[in-house]
């Protein structure tokens, strides 16, 4: 026998539910060890100190904990948005653009209608406008996918940059003062169109909205007819059309929903916390959301945990870069390392290696 045939790979049968989480847990621990090693090499600090700094960066003060909650809520919101599309095997990596469009629509309402309408009406219009803007941005690639099977990964990706330039255009149109290149805080004195602050905490509203969305999305995917239909379309389009599901309609409907929730994320960012719009307001969350959703196997409740993990790392690594005077991009390196480990660990959940021992029976590992 030649060397290549000493082992071969077979698919695992059904494993107990905790097995997958055990493997992922081991992967995360290994990844944290590697991350600490990398940090130690670059900063010369001892690894325990590094972990302490990460933890401090995430939870150190009350303000930091709230920031963690806010970032987590927005990331989770975008992840919830892309999830139904992914379940349908529609790779919507245009979350970034859809959030931007939602934010832009919100800002447009705040600027153009700020002093002309009572606040409650204004906020209602903002909500509708942002949802509509996100949905339109999401549904354009979906229509082409449904009618002509246009590659959606690349279409949605390009739509991100069209949205970015559109925002850049309006930023210059609305810039205050002229020539500043940015809009600044909108309606600073009147606070028209600012979403209400609940319980004295600026970020509480966002967190509550996203919490409700999470539960709603869980129910939608798991118990509604729509959720069932889009899962069937994702598993096999032929089966879907055979059993009488209108595939085109499902694709378009799901992307309307996906874009609409991204629009809400834009609304929460612009109307709820930032009160301004820039080209970087989405901050790469459209891409991070893909990983949050995939790591959670498209389960909204598990996504609470995965989005927490990524935001925790980002805030923690941000603290490391501040404390040790490094560049903030250090967070991206650590996130990348941890993602590699988790992505790799999926293999060991789904497959096993079986070794041949020179003529004897197979031994499973």
């Amino acid at each position: 026998m030649n060397k290549q045939n000493q082992f071969h790979i077979v698919k695992r049968g059904a494993m107990p539910w905790y097995f997958g989480w055990l493997v992922r847990g081991i992967a995360i621990v290994l990844a944290l060890l590697v991350s600490a090693a990398v940090t130690t090499i670059l900063t010369g600090e001892d690894p325990l100190q590094v972990y302490a700094t990460i933890f401090h960066g995430a939870f150190g003060t009350k303000r930091k904990a709230w920031m963690l909650g806010q970032n987590m809520a927005i990331l989770l919101c975008v992840s919830l948005a892309v999830t139904p599309a992914f379940k349908m095997r529609f790779w919507n990596i245009g979350g970034e653009g859809q959030v931007l469009m939602g934010g832009l629509a919100t800002a447009a309402c705040m600027i153009c209608l700020g002093d002309k309408l009572p606040n409650a009406v204004l906020i209602l219009i903002m909500v509708i406008a942002s949802i509509a803007a996100g949905a339109v941005w999401g549904v354009i690639p979906a229509i082409f996918k449904a009618k002509w099977n246009t590659n959606e990964t690349l279409f949605t990706l390009m739509m991100n940059y069209v949205a970015t330039q559109l925002v850049a255009f309006f930023v210059i149109v609305w810039e205050v003062p002229k020539g500043a290149g940015k809009i600044g805080i909108i309606n600073q004195t009147t606070e028209a169109g600012w979403l209400p602050v609940i319980g004295g905490q600026k970020y509480l509203l966002n967190i509550l909205v996203v919490a409700i969305l999470t539960v709603a999305m869980h129910i939608y995917l798991k118990y509604s007819k729509h959720g069932y239909e889009l899962t069937v379309v994702g598993e096999s389009e032929r089966t879907a059309s055979y059993v009488g599901i209108k595939v085109e309609k499902v694709i378009i409907r799901t992307m309307l929903l996906s874009g609409a929730i991204c629009g809400i994320a834009g609304l929460l960012l612009v109307g709820g916390t930032d009160h301004t719009v820039t080209t970087t307001i989405a901050g790469g969350r459209g891409f991070t959301a893909v990983m949050v959703s995939w790591l959670a196997k498209f389960d909204p409740l598990v996504m609470i945990f995965t989005s927490f993990l990524l935001v925790f790392l980002d805030r923690g690594a941000g603290e490391i870069s501040t404390v040790f005077g490094l560049n903030h991009s250090f967070a991206d390196i650590l996130t990348g390392i941890i993602l590699f480990f988790i992505i790799g660990s999926e293999f060991f959940i789904n497959y096993k290696l079986s070794f041949h021992k020179a003529g004897k029976e197979e031994k499973h590992v």
């Binding site: 390009m158 790799g344 999926e346």
Partner: protein, 331 residues
């Protein structure tokens, strides 16, 4: 008046990173791997070249003592090594461990862009040197040296001969890749792997090896795009995020050229032209309109994407197994 003699060289200079990126990605996609990590790979290629050049410049006493061969060779080797490692990570995860290609690619981009910006921002602090910023003008002068008689030939020299050697190398790589893909046995095997790995496997082609080799070579070619950008276009000055979204544009270009690197030579110049067109369009005092012109490359890509999918010609389709991992025992 539209000044073609100044416009064309600038468009070409813009096009070279896109051309290298898209050639690399075409090669990768032909094996059935949709590597969305190309933007990250190009960042890593660029910064590894910068690190190599930075260490070399620090080790010699003055710019006059620099050896032309080493000044070009060290950054280039560092760049190729860095992008090779990125390609290997991608292959390990998607080919050997059969992970989802979209997720792996995006993770690779997060990592690569972070890696580039981190070392770009911290290289000086980490090496403990006392220079104010990374400006590798000496190394850059070796990279961007034009052909000696370019200046004497007027507009002809400016349009065709005024570029650094990497630009000509990029065109050569694109032509060679196109030839290999279309006219050689290796290319035929590679395309078979991308279209139907099970058939290729049955025909005795080593699917895993083809995927590994083509993805890694593709990454190295794309990495050179990052190197060209820093060393030639940006005159050796690294600034964070300056490379921007060119990596994504390179992926768009792959579709625009319908997986043909030789078409990519002109297509990338068209994209390069669209990328800088806003500088040449008289917008008067209205700066905002320029932002709309910057949309052009993306809108053109969308239009091409839509048209190719509508016409649905068989020879213009993506490799049939693009984006899917291959498992021999899958039924």
């Amino acid at each position: 008046m539209f000044d073609l003699v100044s416009f064309i060289p600038r468009a070409v200079v813009q096009s070279i990173p896109l051309l290298l990126g898209s050639t690399g990605e075409t090669l990768t996609e032909k094996s059935g791997n949709l590597n969305l990590g190309i933007p990250g790979v190009m960042y890593v290629g660029g910064i590894c070249g910068v690190i190599g050049a930075f260490l070399y410049e620090q080790s010699v006493a003055s710019a006059e003592e620099m050896n032309a061969f080493l000044a070009i060779g060290i950054p280039m080797l560092a760049c190729l090594l860095g992008s090779l490692v990125m390609g290997l990570i991608y292959c390990l995860l998607t080919v050997t461990l059969r992970a989802n290609q979209n997720v792996t690619g995006l993770a690779l981009t997060t990592f690569g862009v972070g890696f580039g910006n981190f070392f770009g921002g911290s290289l000086i602090k980490l090496t403990g040197s006392d220079v104010p910023s990374i400006a590798l003008s000496a190394t850059s002068s070796f990279f961007s040296r034009a052909l000696p008689f370019a200046d004497d030939l007027g507009w002809f020299g400016q349009i065709f001969l005024s570029y650094g050697f990497l630009a000509y190398l990029a065109i050569a790589i694109a032509l060679v890749t196109a030839y290999v893909l279309k006219h050689t046995r290796v290319g035929l095997h590679l395309r078979a792997v991308g279209e139907s790995p099970a058939t290729a496997d049955a025909a005795g082609i080593n699917v895993g090896r083809y995927k590994y080799v083509s993805t890694c070579i593709g990454s190295m070619i794309a990495g050179l795009g990052g190197l060209y950008y820093v060393m030639d276009y940006a005159c050796g000055v690294w600034s964070n995020d300056a490379f921007g979204d060119r990596g994504w544009l390179a992926i768009a270009l792959v579709i625009f050229t319908i997986w043909r690197p030789n078409v990519g030579i002109f297509a990338s110049m068209l994209f390069g032209g669209l990328y800088i067109l806003y500088l040449y369009i008289p917008a008067g005092m209205n700066l905002s309109v320029k932002e709309l012109y910057k949309m052009l490359p993306y809108i053109v890509t969308i239009v091409v994407l839509v048209i190719t999918s509508m016409r649905n010609k068989r020879e213009n389709q993506p490799p049939a197994h693009l984006g899917l991992s291959y498992f021999r025992e899958e039924r």
